[in-house]
Subunit: 185 residues, 4 copies
Amino acid sequence: MSEKITPKLITSEWFNTDSPLSIQALKGKVVVVHAFQMLCPGCVSHGIPQASVVNDAFSKDQVQVIGLHSVFEHHQVMTPDALRVFLHEYKVTFPVAVDQPSLDKVLPKTMDSWQLQGTPSLIVFDKFGQCRLKHFGRLSDLQVGTIVGKLAAEENNPVLADDTATTSIKSSHSTPNCNDDACSI
Amino acid sequence: MSEKITPKLITSEWFNTDSPLSIQALKGKVVVVHAFQMLCPGCVSHGIPQASVVNDAFSKDQVQVIGLHSVFEHHQVMTPDALRVFLHEYKVTFPVAVDQPSLDKVLPKTMDSWQLQGTPSLIVFDKFGQCRLKHFGRLSDLQVGTIVGKLAAEENNPVLADDTATTSIKSSHSTPNCNDDACSI
Amino acid sequence: MSEKITPKLITSEWFNTDSPLSIQALKGKVVVVHAFQMLCPGCVSHGIPQASVVNDAFSKDQVQVIGLHSVFEHHQVMTPDALRVFLHEYKVTFPVAVDQPSLDKVLPKTMDSWQLQGTPSLIVFDKFGQCRLKHFGRLSDLQVGTIVGKLAAEENNPVLADDTATTSIKSSHSTPNCNDDACSI
Amino acid sequence: MSEKITPKLITSEWFNTDSPLSIQALKGKVVVVHAFQMLCPGCVSHGIPQASVVNDAFSKDQVQVIGLHSVFEHHQVMTPDALRVFLHEYKVTFPVAVDQPSLDKVLPKTMDSWQLQGTPSLIVFDKFGQCRLKHFGRLSDLQVGTIVGKLAAEENNPVLADDTATTSIKSSHSTPNCNDDACSI
């Protein structure tokens, strides 16, 4: 299934990096974006540790992991200041961006643009900046290893858009809701 | 080793209960107090789930579990409003008190009075309001079951004070510090 | 519910002990019998590690853990020789008895006498040799800690028989069958 | 590092398949061989479940998982009859071969030919029958996903032999020895 995601992060602040990162400028590397909220239980127990493992497992020349703090509920307590403490206490070392809040929408701008369904979401771009995976909910380490290993091994040509895999956990709630795995919009 | 802890909670707010609880008023029940901070990784991954399991395992006639939010660092982001969201998202259902902040000390009042070393700490009172366990750091479910099972089975007489067990993880840090297991003062 | 179990092990061989143990001779101690089969997945993943944790957690003056290899299926491959290798490879250090095979029944003699429903089963005797727990299937560490902590704290008088707790996983199979948790008769 | 492994299984018996498998005949598929012993704790707790997850995660058109029972110790109890029971109780569904015992050596023939260091070992062949990974000890699911995902995505040409990855846990024992992770020769 084709998935037209503009490989552009719209952010208001960055942690764990001297300067903002850009997916377009990272061409030549696989980019793994982990969208999360600091008070989303599934993000804390599963998504963040998995992103750290991916960050540790691959050479920085090959794979760039980016955290994206996409707050769509409880905005008043999941502030950048609270996020800074969270990243410190949980010893998150990869770059993390704050998804830019919208003036008129509940969803922050990157989340809205990418049409994410909730947190955690994993969005993977190939070396050519094409989105190859957009997944809401929990993926196993084997699944993440398989897609990243595949994309890291690709050498020559951009793949056709219809090679894109887009999978998701079905969300039956119309209001924000968290379970052990995920928080949905 | 004897441990003179006044069985008194000094609190500023309560969640998940219609009225404040008092250890003295709970005589006849074993009281298990889980002191935590919402951004302490060891509390979130181990302490809170364990307290929930204890809460589910015992009859409310026998054992009362109480959460105590004892913030000694990053006060500005671990506010009662943030705690309310945390308890909601993590589906914590047992009563939780906010340890009353001190006007002139970093440590909140109950934590200071009980001389806790950090979070998570588990403090267990017998049916007579005597402190029988004060532990900083991680305890296994088997250890918690053993002490609560023992105290829940006691029927008749207050034990002598020197039966009190006080154990702790050694803390070598003089400044606030968190590892996977705990945050120490 | 009352449970009349004769506190007698009928065995053919012992490992990890110089001489056979007897529940009657262990009066004054809580005796925790873990009945298992070496090719029962739930015993290997959960029961044996839990019995080892109980063995490590309590003083030998207070609690005696005993493994009981109660083979009721695949007798030809779960032999004492195979068990010896299993105990060595899995580094089991507490005493383990071979439940004595019957000449005319599928069930070994202790298992038959105690009317166990399968493996793993946990059978706990108090300091007076009374059976206080007979459980088929998985118990949490908190549950095991609670019962052992309670019995280890009992000092003076034998309890009445109707204090006995007998719990079990319902087994709907009439032929031997294993799932992740247990193998039933 | 180059690793010249003949892609040939020397076997005496097969389970879970109507006819013996051959790595050469599987050209076009990635072949994942999990070498194990049924009484090796690290194989049972980690290796076998991981092989099952790999077996479930990939299309049979792309990836073939094969278990290889390479007994190098306690031959008298880890017999094919015992293995049959083990595979049944642990619900292993992928094809499993018995590594052919040697008449004059402790090591079975495939293990000896491939110079494996112990169990569990993971040996991965690409679509052209070239060995691309030979690993003794535990690998994370992320690591296994990465190598299998990479090889499954390769389309056109055999890679050069020096692309082969060979990694191992260092073994300091000269006699057979098991720890939680592995049993070494």
